[in-house]
Symmetry: C2
Subunit: 324 residues, 2 copies
């Protein structure tokens, strides 16, 4: 078994060694720039861990892992245009550093390159891997569309929200692990269990991210605290608070989440007060734990020696950032 | 052998029968809208003709043909954002009717759906078909990038221009025909010859389109005449005129193609006068013919009974719109 850190090193080397053609540079420079911004490489590592779990060849799995990383970065490039986001991982977004047209077209090219990296797998695996990858790509687009729709929708339910983050975030983790499992010639049952593990871990991770946005430590979180509140994002915390609040808090919350002009610090303080009063921190923690435990149940179902699962468990802990 | 018109009918029926999921509607309505705008369906017809030429199953080739049509329409959706184009085929573009975000994301989804339609082919053909399709997708993106670059580049050569239209337009015709040939289990030699036939036909077609933009009949052309001149597009006609002009015409041309404020009708008249004086109409016609004849040479090389090529020849004539 390979460790997460050794797999990350392998991946970084593969990414550094990528050699796209040099022309037109407006197309390929933003791709190199984006891949060079780093990130935790969680998704491609999951491809490699999935393969390794079932005794697959990790080196032969690097290309499909890169396919996932290219795809993920393509979605970030296009999301940043749609969200008008100037900063990603502490650096200017492609959309900001170049322009929207460059971000659209180099994003499209990354999506195509992702398929190039997938095409080289064992041809007997190719149709099923392609089907999963493309289905996931469509789901991620659907998730992004729901996310944008929710901005202007007055009534979003918690179930709507959970389905949105499942599509936008969780399915890609499931897909990454399952592609890896396929590369290790796992049984259909094991491949589905590792998909559900990833999907539930993704839900747990996103809810934890929502929580840290309000109650996190700015330094550890790596983003400014309160961003979701300032941008009126209807996260799990907001929707849960609406559900549990009396008329007073409810109308205050709805007011705060519809204004664009309120002082950010005051808004964050007021919303956080309501959340604390309604025990939203604990309620969200419970939900994070619920999906984490669900993930662990699916992992337990997978029919390989328990010690082989250690690296996946370590990655899961690292992702949720808690000691269980 | 099937006729072009019967294949077009088959395709239209398949497109009408497409049933994407209904939610989120912001994602799927623009796709249905775009496919419903019509067009000549040249590229998917080429997939079917390519298959039919080699005795392939036309009905089994409908999905790969739709893959090409989805891909082509995806590029139009994104190009229209980049070109800020309000009208396509006489109707509002998605970008204009909805907004840029919808056009980005529903375009991305169309690209994914294209791969879905390709994935169902005979698995023994899949890797090679995927490789060709993805390579072509990247080339089309590169062509679009060069096209945008040329807008602000002072010195574009005729060779640069020909390479740009090869990437942006011609390779997709070659790819469509070759995918069809693969579906008909053509030999590698025949598959390459039909690719070259399509590529040269694409070059001929684009140069003919450039010509009609200046000297065409508005009603037959379906677009306003002189659009390329008004928008300062450096087409073959402009570049050839620059090459052949003396200092006076040359500086006049460069002036006309850098101003945004000149009266459109006056500009078109003045530029057309220079073109006529320099025999640009004839020079471009020669080039259209050259690529058309090249295409025919490659078609002649293909080792099937000559009469089987009649529909391809008819389509080629229809595309270039001349009697040879």
């Amino acid at each position: 078994m390979h460790s997460v850190s050794s797999l990350r090193t392998k991946l970084e080397r593969s990414i550094e060694a990528l050699n796209f053609q040099s022309s037109p540079k407006e197309l390929y420079e933003p791709i190199i720039y984006t891949l060079g911004l780093g990130g935790k490489r969680i998704r491609p590592i999951m491809v490699l861990l999935g393969a390794d779990l079932f005794g697959g060849d990790v080196n032969a799995s690097l290309h499909p892992a890169l396919a996932i990383e290219l795809f993920h970065n393509f979605t970030l490039l296009h999301d940043d245009i749609m969200d008008n986001a100037p900063i990603r991982r502490g650096k200017e977004t492609v959309f900001k550093k170049w322009n929207a047209n460059v971000a659209i077209l180099s994003g499209d090219t990354m999506f195509a390159i992702a398929y190039d990296f997938l095409t080289g797998v064992d041809p007997t695996l190719l149709p099923e891997m392609l089907r999963l990858f493309t289905k996931t790509a469509r789901e991620v687009c659907e998730g992004q569309q729901y996310d944008m729709n929710f901005e202007s929708l007055p009534a979003v339910t918690i179930d709507d929200y959970l389905e949105m983050i499942r599509l936008k975030t969780a399915v890609l983790l499931g897909c990454s692990l399952k592609l890896g499992a396929m590369l290790g010639y796992a049984t259909a049952g094991d491949a589905n269990n590792i998909y559900r593990f990833g999907e539930n871990l993704g839900l747990s991770f996103q809810l934890q991210d929502d929580l840290l946005d309000v109650f996190g430590d700015e330094e550890k979180f790596g983003k400014e605290i309160g961003g979701d509140i300032v941008s009126n994002k209807k996260t799990f915390l907001y929707l849960k608070a609406l559900e549990l609040s009396g008329p007073g808090d409810s109308s205050a919350l709805q007011h705060y989440f519809s204004t664009q002009t309120m002082d950010p610090d005051e808004k964050i303080t007021k919303v956080r007060e309501i959340y604390l009063r309604l025990n939203i921190r604990e309620k969200t923690n419970e939900q994070v734990d619920f999906y984490y435990q669900e993930a662990m149940k699916y992992l337990a179902e997978i029919r390989v020696e328990e010690t082989r699962k250690d690296e996946l468990k370590a990655l899961a802990k690292q992702l949720i950032g808690r000691v269980y």
